[in-house]
């Protein structure tokens, strides 16, 4: 039984942007503030300084959070139009609410990456921070032996997987972020990327979405577009 991913937007009135995202048993909240005043030592003359802060559900910030921060930063930095707001700070805070497993190991950390990334991108969209493109991320497991692919796997699936992959794509299908681990051939990797691209990329507005719906549920790219669309429609409701 898989739990469908859910997302919501703009529920923290004091943050410029906020979003939550849950995938399986992992659930995170992200908030974005900025562009705002920057600390002198972080000030950049030509572009905005991007800060990512990850806060764990239990305990205090450790190396795992630092690692997640650096990975999220590397994925988010290129999609933000930083030159639009020089000498400012754009702060992204990711709060883990619930993670898939209680143990602090590589797999649970891996399962945090995609939801955190999605929540952060949604929060950036909500805040109206100028972006170059929309990134959506997913996790793919490559099973031992059978070579079967599981998109958005559960913790148990990952434990049995030969290799596990976190991938992020722009809505146009460009590969923006990879974190793959395990033992695999390049050909397997190509298959994994194709599977990831399928769920992450989203059809254009006005495209016929029916064909996609038939092929099993809603991809994460579609889901993200849906929640943003709902938010914009709510904002423009007064016109109706």
């Amino acid at each position: 039984m898989t739990i469908p991913s859910t997302a919501s937007l703009g529920f923290l009135p004091r943050s410029d942007g906020s979003a939550s995202f849950s995938q399986g048993r992992t659930s995170v909240i992200a908030s974005v503030n900025g562009p705002m005043e920057v600390r002198i030592r972080d000030e950049l003359p030509q572009e905005a300084y991007i800060e990512v802060i990850v806060r764990p559900a239990i305990g205090v910030t450790g190396t795992r959070e630092k690692y997640l921060e650096s990975r999220l930063l590397s994925a988010l930095k290129p999609i933000i139009l930083r030159s639009n707001h020089p000498r400012t700070l754009i702060q992204i805070v990711v709060q883990v609410v619930q993670s898939a497993g209680s143990e602090d190991n590589a797999i649970t950390t891996l399962l945090l990456l995609a939801p955190s990334l999605n929540a952060a991108v949604l929060a950036l969209l909500d805040a109206g921070v100028p972006l170059k493109s929309v990134l959506s991320a997913t996790t793919v497991a490559f099973l031992k032996g059978s070579g079967k692919l599981i998109v958005e796997p559960e913790l148990e699936d990952l434990k049995k997987a030969a290799s596990k992959h976190v991938l992020a794509f722009t809505s146009a299908g460009l590969l923006g972020f990879v974190e793959s681990e395990g033992e695999f051939e390049y050909e397997d990797f190509e298959r994994v990327v194709e599977a990831g691209r399928n769920v992450c990329s989203a059809g254009r507005e006005g495209d016929d979405n029916d064909t996609k719906m038939d092929t099993g549920g809603q991809g994460v790219g579609e889901l993200m577009r849906k929640v943003v669309r709902e938010k914009v429609e709510k904002d423009l409701r007064w016109r109706a």
Binding site: L125, T170, R204, D235, R237, W238, R239
Partner: protein, 268 residues
């Protein structure tokens, strides 16, 4: 039509006159020579007559832009200017953008006649300089007439927060969009060969709440594009009623706004 960052734009209709320049509004970035990129999620608007396109969205963080009217708070005074903060609509916002309001940027001000402002004062001002590389500057007179035209210190009253989109609507931007919509509908209707019975009431301009309140209650109001609305009246009760009605009509249609005001007036 809803667009997302990185989405390609649909083909833009040719300008009505040959030499009209294309105006690119908020949410879009123009990279020379002719590449226009969407960088915000929102509704794409194309005004064929003015040959302009922009993205209509909503937000909370105010980015200063030239000639915007804003409600600011004085932080301190230096030898030749007041340092002000332009708060955004997140209530109560941490100080975000700092702006300079020169002592002489008031109508007919000289060193002796300039108005004295104290830290904490609320001022209605116009942005005279906005540049991403510099702190913005403010002026308290109209750019054309050089007269006060309502700018200056706002004494008494109460400041309420609304979203940036709501502030724009209260300043009448909603009307423009409404007219645009009406015209587009007409064109569509003509294409389809139907006759459109235009009902003026059908499309809201987003500020019915103010119109309705103004009909019954005596109050003063000033709207800043930074998402702040200043309201003053004889009685705090009335001020609060006006402020709350404005805040609550964020997601309401014109009809609902009118109903809301009627309810609130009954209670008052």
């Amino acid at each position: 039509m809803l667009v997302f960052p990185g989405d390609p734009l649909p083909s833009i209709p040719p300008p009505p006159k040959a030499n009209t320049t294309l105006k690119v509004g908020p949410g879009l970035t123009h990279t020379p020579p002719d590449n226009i990129v969407v960088h915000k999620a929102g509704e794409l608007n194309i005004d064929e007559r003015r040959h302009a396109l922009w993205i209509e969205g909503n937000g909370k963080r105010y980015i200063p832009s030239l000639n915007d009217v804003v409600i600011v708070t004085v932080l301190r005074s230096t030898s030749d200017a007041y340092i002000c903060t332009i708060p955004s609509s997140i209530s109560p916002a941490p100080s975000s953008t700092q702006a300079m309001l020169p002592h002489l940027a008031f109508p007919g001000a000289t060193k002796k006649t300039r108005p004295q402002l104290y830290p904490g004062c609320t001022v209605y001002a116009r942005i005279s300089l906005a540049n991403k590389h510099m702190d913005p500057e403010l002026e308290c007179y109209d750019a054309e007439s050089q007269k006060a035209e309502g700018f200056g210190e706002l004494k008494g009253g109460m400041v309420f927060n609304v979203s940036l989109g709501m502030a724009r609507r209260l300043l009448g931007d909603g009307k423009k969009i409404r007219q645009l919509r009406l015209k587009q509908r007409k064109v569509e209707a003509e294409k389809g060969g139907e006759d459109l019975a235009t009902d003026d009431e059908e499309i809201s301009n987003g500020m019915e709440v103010l119109e309705e309140l103004g009909r019954v209650l005596p109050f003063e109001v000033a709207v800043g594009r930074n998402g702040r609305v200043w309201v003053d009246s004889e009685e705090p009760k009335v001020t609060l009623c006006v402020g709350r009605c404005i805040q609550q009509s964020e997601f309401l249609t014109g009809k609902e706004q009118r109903a809301l005001v009627r309810e609130a007036l009954k209670k008052l």
